[in-house]
Amino acid sequence: TQLLEQSPQFLSIQEGENLTVYCNSSSVFSSLQWYRQEPGEGPVLLVTVVTGGEVKKLKRLTFQFGDARKDSSLHITAAQPGDTGLYLCAGLHGTSYGKLTFGQGTILTVHP
């Protein structure tokens, strides 16, 4: 089983602060996806990164895929209370059927 280590598990910050969430593996993934989950709902895709070294921006969120396609990071600039939620990274195997391996998740709380 290919593992994804996600850190930190919990993050509690004040509105306006910056933060970074990390996702690391010893295995290579064909691509990596980031999801956000709010209470009572299923995860929703934020972004997919495919190429080693790729950087994607989604408003105040910046996603990076490591050069070796073994790690990824999510950086949020000037966090807002609306960013509160569970963030999950998921690596896509190069083989069959869109099977994903998920990290443990990061619970982010942004206080006003």
């Binding site: 089983t1 598990q9 009572g40 299923g42 997919t48 059927y97 869109g98 099977k99 998920f102 998740g105």
Partner: protein, 113 residues
Amino acid sequence: DVKVTQSSRYLVKRTGEKVFLECVQDMDHENMFWYRQDPGLGLRLIYFSYDVKMKEKGDIPEGYSVSREKKERFSLILESASTNQTSMYLCASSLSMLRQPQHFGDGTRLSIL
């Protein structure tokens, strides 16, 4: 928009019961997945299916089985429920091509007493 519908939001069952969790998607997706979600463990794959009547074991299949008789419907079965199966269960679907996102239902919170 893709819609993945899980039949129950909350379910309470007793130890030893046979439990059925149902999932339906409306976008003609080939792949369907069942996960359980526990605090600090992320999502763990139980079973997945890439076509009607086809199924593959995920990382934690013990104590579970699945059924996919129609493309849009994927059922998770707990053969004899146990307390350690108390969890949030999430169903997802995706297109068959690589790198396609998974679309999730809102989950079933199952409690086994």
